[in-house]
């Protein structure tokens, strides 16, 4: 391992400042592994040398690349367990109470990538919803390529090892050669579409819960504002928006209010905001 205590501290401070995520001691291996490609791209064999250089030069792009490398974990199932737990224990009961049985719960996974978030939500809903209550999950992403994999629901052994409880693996997946595929039961009410968040949301229904985690960071202030404004238009009046743990609508859009629940922070429309209620 090439990173020193000083290097690790620089990285943890940087990550905490930029993303509010705390790297515990013991995660040195993670820093080493995740930053190795960045070091290599910078022409350095040792991660420690790379970190030292960044700490001296404080290049914005390199700093951000470090933060990204350590905080994005898109390919995990049930990423940020506390968010799923909060969704299960706090949001779902509210939604079940507020929706009649024949109204499917509509959920948007707005940075769906290869589909782990959408399918994780489906697994949770299959476990938690009463028989007779349906759901619809829409996963969108700007990239058609990643959506191909999401639609196929096909994952490598390494991808399957990432945060997926074994009981879900055996229930919701089938072996296909060296890969695993989602079962028809899991696939059934999950669809994927290409969508550029910066462009108009065409043909989206009104959603009860919108997961838009760690994707707004890629847009400038004006575009963030535009996205959040248009999100309000596809959100049920009593619906919820869930952002990444370090993200906020504050300073961008005042029509949302933050509600802190056990393990989960989510946004709903201000009670004063006038929007038509969801019809069926």
């Amino acid at each position: 391992m090439s990173i020193s205590v000083t290097d690790f501290n620089f990285v943890t401070d940087l990550v905490r400042r930029e993303s509010a995520i705390v790297l515990q001691p013991g995660k040195e291996y993670l820093v080493e592994a995740r930053l190795a490609p960045l070091a290599k791209a910078a022409g350095m064999a040792k991660v420690g040398d790379f970190v030292r250089q960044v700490s001296l030069e404080r290049d914005r792009k390199q700093c951000w690349a470090i933060v990204e490398a350590l905080t994005t974990n898109e390919t995990s199932w049930f990423r940020d367990a506390s968010v799923y737990e909060g969704f299960r224990t706090e949001l779902l009961p509210k939604l079940k109470a507020a929706r009649r049985m024949h109204q499917p719960l509509r959920i948007w996974s707005a940075a769906a990538s290869t589909g782990q978030e959408a399918y994780s939500l489906a697994m949770m809903l299959i476990d938690e919803l009463e028989p007779g209550r349906r759901y619809e999950i829409v996963g969108t992403d700007i990239s058609g390529d990643v959506l191909e994999q999401a639609r196929a629901g096909r994952y490598s052994q390494l991808e399957m090892n990432r945060g997926l409880p074994a009981r879900h693996l055996v229930r919701f997946f089938q072996r296909r050669g060296v890969h695993w595929e989602v079962t028809p039961e899991l696939r059934r009410d999950v669809t994927f579409r290409e969508l550029n968040l910066a462009a108009p949301f065409i043909g989206l229904p009104r959603f009860d819960v919108i997961f838009m985690r760690n994707v707004l960071i890629y847009f400038d202030q004006e575009t963030k504002r535009s996205i959040l404004r248009r999100v309000r238009q596809v959100m049920a009046s009593d619906g919820w928006l869930i952002l990444g743990t370090a993200e906020t609508t504050r300073g961008i859009d005042d029509e949302y209010e933050l509600v802190r629940m056990a393990g989960l922070s989510a946004y709903r429309l201000h009670s004063g905001a006038s929007l038509p209620t969801r019809r069926g």
Binding site: I21, G26, K27, Y29, A166, Q174
Partner: protein, 126 residues
């Protein structure tokens, strides 16, 4: 926190020891299920987690798990199976025998970290 790594491959024991000790665990080792039971019986503290291979001589991982789950002394021991066995039916067998979680070889350190978090043995820092 204490862990025990049970695998007949010294290479695998070394790799798992390195990964798990980075999370702050003290790591004991055994090369098969019978030896592991001896290590457990001889120790004052019950480990928090056992990382258990399946195919081992003398007593394999499945038999070890069955033995541990039948013994009240080890009711708090979390059992993470780490093996090349990837058939669905095998995973079901392991869970039915009492394994709490299952990791298929090969695995990255991240994957081990996430399984330990899933099991509530470490807190998520990232």
């Amino acid at each position: 926190m204490h862990a025990i790594v049970i695998d007949d491959s010294s290479a695998m024991r070394m790799i798992l020891r390195r990964i798990v000790s980075q999370f702050g665990f003290e790591v004991a080792e055994a090369s098969n299920g019978r030896e592991a039971l001896e290590v457990l019986a001889a120790s004052d503290t019950v480990p928090d987690v056992a990382l258990v291979d399946w195919n081992m001589p003398e007593m394999n991982g499945l038999e070890f798990i069955q033995a541990v789950r039948a013994d009240d002394r080890y009711s708090k021991l979390t059992l993470l199976m780490v093996t090349t066995e990837s058939e669905q039916s095998q995973i079901v067998r392991a869970l039915a025998a009492g394994a709490h979680e299952y990791l298929i070889k090969p695995f990255t350190p991240d994957a081990v970290a996430e399984k330990l978090e899933l099991l509530g043995l470490t807190t998520a820092g990232v």
